[in-house]
């Protein structure tokens, strides 16, 4: 069960910002989300969206353990 966090416009689009999702890898997680909300899955792969696994930005694939935190970060605006 990864804990998935959405920020900024991604959370607005999804209608949620914090959800537990069963998946063993990032690609499996994206597939689960695509099955539930294809538009959201497309937005999560959109330009400028970064993925942080346990608060570290990763590129490409990552294995997910139980209690791993996965955050989808749209382009940052600064403060």
């Amino acid at each position: 069960m990864a804990r998935v966090l959405l920020f900024g416009r991604l959370a607005d689009q999804a209608g949620w910002r914090d959800r537990a999702i069963e998946a063993m890898s990032l690609s499996a997680l994206r597939a689960v989300i695509a099955g539930d909300d294809p538009d959201l899955a497309e937005a999560l792969s959109g330009p400028g969206v970064q993925v942080a696994v346990d608060k570290t930005v990763v590129r490409g694939e990552a294995a997910l353990l139980a209690s791993t935190e996965v955050a989808f970060l749209p382009p940052m605006s600064g403060g």
Binding site: L73, P75, M76, S77, G78, G79
Partner: protein, 148 residues
């Protein structure tokens, strides 16, 4: 020290605390960013941070700035959540032996915080809410430091 806070904060109190006991610090530069009312166009500002990620990113950047400008110390406080017009959004203070380093480090930190720090900003105005991207001016200000 870095603090993210949902509660309003008082910049003067932070400056007072930061200046105490600095016998060898000649210079303290500081900056307060305030939420502008924009003549009623910006009713409220909402800032989202990712706790544990946003503050860690700020800390990494601030420590690099401390080394680059030989700072004695720094203090950064950043609001999150709903911010009303006139309220402080960000406070940055830098302490150094001399004023050039204190000013430049404060400017450097602010340019990065305003354009590249991991926040997501939404403006609630009369025409509804919209998510904000960094302005061209923010990008230009921040990129001043890249060539050096």
């Amino acid at each position: 020290m870095i603090t993210l806070t949902e509660a309003p904060f008082e910049p003067g109190a932070l400056l007072t605390a930061f200046c105490v006991g600095r016998a060898e610090t000649g210079a303290v530069a500081s900056f307060v960013g305030l939420a502008r009312a924009e003549q009623g166009q910006a009713a409220a500002l909402e800032l989202e941070a990712y706790p544990g990620f946003t503050d860690a990113a700020i800390q990494d950047f601030a420590e690099a700035a401390k080394a680059r400008f030989s700072l004695h110390d720094y203090r950064i406080v950043h609001r999150t959540g709903h911010i009303a017009p006139g309220e402080a959004i960000v406070f940055v203070a830098t302490a150094a032996g001399h004023r050039r380093a204190a000013f430049e480090a404060c400017d450097f930190l602010m340019d990065w915080l305003k354009s590249r720090a991991p926040f997501w900003k939404k403006e609630h105005g009369p025409g509804g809410a919209r998510w904000i991207e960094p302005t061209d001016r923010d990008r230009t200000d921040a990129s001043r430091w890249d060539q050096e």
